[in-house]
């Protein structure tokens, strides 16, 4: 695989901001470009509020080509993943996906990611800002006979929203492996290969907005044609990073580098669902297992929670959470929630105060804002699950 988009910056020079396959496509559609994860990316087109609401009502097209698409190959790739990640991968069936976490030796979170068992191999999508460190970390720890490839020549598009299935369905994708694995047969966290006009697509029913939707991996050479075909559907508009952030925040989904970091472990982050019981033991065989088992057994001092904020003023990353005049936590992401029409935040607070209904105060620019702990997500998930379609 060629590293087309991953030219290493020359030492001593200002780091290059790189372009993605759809760069000109975004600019031609009025995308306002900003630097994100080392790339030029669109933060918005017509406006964050309108794009957010369009995605919740119809279908939004997101370019997430900055993310790292990796493939792990080898007879024992499932075991290799279980030595790196706290999830269950030897039992992950072909065509299924799982959310997991790349852990440091001390159990801190190096990245969050999605693993797909493609049958012959495992396909892993990691965050853009962390992908090079992830690749180095994983490669250094792979056993003999298991290899890691970076699909740097592939783009990744996400089509999200209640009309995403209708819009993608109109493209007439043809199952490329099992003929029974049609687009409609996929439910949340399932994936299959398809052909579209002679172009190979890797499609999964997943995303990071809380809505039904798909992520589509395509060779960079065909990314513009695919984006054009999707945008030609009446349900679809292009959506920038701004709305991607407000959508994932409402969906209660943590953002790496903000709500997740090497200083945070999965139990604190309330991501225990990603770790099955058999892996919550000190000898589970992955790095950080002992620390994680201890965190599960003894609990943690702090916890990720959702906060509903009174009034209109938003509390953003870094705002202090106060109770009885004492700092008890910190906001890790926050902003105005378009679907709730009020400010919301995610924060890490002392576990004793993490019960829904607890009243707290946020300190924002010298002002005190009243806030209440709530269960996540803020906005209900609308994934298509088995039997629901």
């Amino acid at each position: 695989m060629s590293d087309t988009y991953d030219l290493a910056p020359i030492a001593g020079e200002k780091p290059l901001i790189l372009t993605l396959p759809l760069d000109a496509w975004h600019r031609a559609r009025g995308g306002r470009m900003v630097e994100f994860a080392g790339y030029h990316m669109p933060v918005q087109y017509e406006g964050i509020l309108a794009e957010h609401q369009w995605t919740r009502a119809h279908a939004g097209l997101f370019d997430v080509s900055h993310m790292g698409q990796l493939v792990l190959r080898g007879d024992h790739a499932g075991q290799a993943l279980e030595a790196l990640l706290p999830g269950a991968f030897t039992t992950l069936k072909p065509g299924k996906q799982r959310y997991s976490l790349l852990l440091a030796d001390d159990g801190g979170i190096l990245d969050d990611l999605i693993v797909t068992n493609r049958g012959p191999d495992f396909y892993v999508v990691v965050n853009g800002a962390t992908k090079h460190a992830d690749i180095a970390h994983i490669t250094a720890r792979l056993p003999h006979g298991v290899t890691l490839d970076h699909l740097a020549d592939h783009a990744l598009l996400a089509l999200q929203g209640p009309e995403a299935a209708l819009a993608l369905g109109a493209l007439g994708l043809v199952p490329a492996a099992d003929p029974a694995r049609t687009l409609d047969s996929l439910v949340f966290m399932e994936a299959a290969p398809f052909m579209w006009n002679g172009v190979a697509l890797g499609v999964s029913r997943s995303g990071y907005t809380g809505e039904d939707g798909f992520e589509i991996s395509v060779h960079a050479d065909h990314a513009v044609a695919l984006a054009d075909a999707l945008l030609a559907q009446p349900q679809v508009k292009p959506i920038g990073l701004g709305a991607r952030d407000s959508l994932r925040l409402e969906a209660g989904l943590p953002l790496y580098g903000h709500d997740l970091s090497p200083d945070i472990d999965p139990v604190e982050a309330d991501l225990g669902f990603a770790i099955p019981a058999r892996r919550r033991v000190a000898d589970a065989g992955f790095r950080g297992a002992a620390q994680l088992a201890k965190a599960f057994a003894e609990g943690t001092a702090r916890r990720r929670v959702g906060l509903l904020i009174e009034g209109r003023m938003a509390a953003r990353e870094g705002a202090e959470v106060v109770s009885d005049g004492r700092t008890v936590g910190i906001v890790t992401s926050g902003g105005f929630a378009p679907s709730l029409e009020r400010p919301i935040a995610m924060a890490f607070i002392e576990t004793a105060l993490a019960t829904p209904g607890t009243a707290l105060t946020l300190s924002v620019r010298g002002k005190s804002l009243a806030a209440t702990v709530v269960s996540l997500p803020f906005h209900p998930h609308r994934y298509v699950r088995k039997g629901a379609a």
Binding site: Q44, I48, G242, M313, G335
Partner: protein, 123 residues
């Protein structure tokens, strides 16, 4: 009625010894959808360059600086329920506050419409 502009994208309209202050159309377009405006307190004494107000958009919170020195005499009551007026009419109904003009000589350091247009074009 002359409208003055700052390099930080505030505007100021002077009538006698009073001034109305807001943010420019360019500023609102850069901020995006505005969801809340934190206004100064009536009676507050502002020195030129003080952070007087904060405009909160879906994207970020941004300071609005006092373009001149003076005391706040009035804030725009419509913004409490309709902060989006700053997007739709930034140089009209979406004004932020009114203030006295402590030192008319400070106006000499501000830009006129043509100079501001050139400033924005150079960004």
């Amino acid at each position: 009625m002359t409208r003055y502009f700052t390099a930080d994208h505030e505007w100021l309209v002077v009538e006698g010894d009073a001034a109305t202050v807001g943010i420019t159309d360019y500023a609102q377009s850069q901020l995006g959808d505005i969801t809340f405006v934190e206004l100064p307190t009536v009676g507050a004494a502002l020195a030129k360059g003080d952070s007087a107000s904060v405009v909160d958009s879906v994207k970020a919170a941004s300071d609005v600086y006092a373009p001149v020195s003076g005391a706040v005499t009035e804030v725009n009551p419509a913004l409490e329920d309709a902060p989006e007026l700053v997007n739709s009419a930034p140089e009209g109904e979406g004004w932020l506050w009114r203030m006295t003009l402590a030192d008319a000589a400070q106006l000499d350091g501000l830009m006129d419409e043509a100079a501001y247009a050139a400033h924005v074009a150079g960004l």
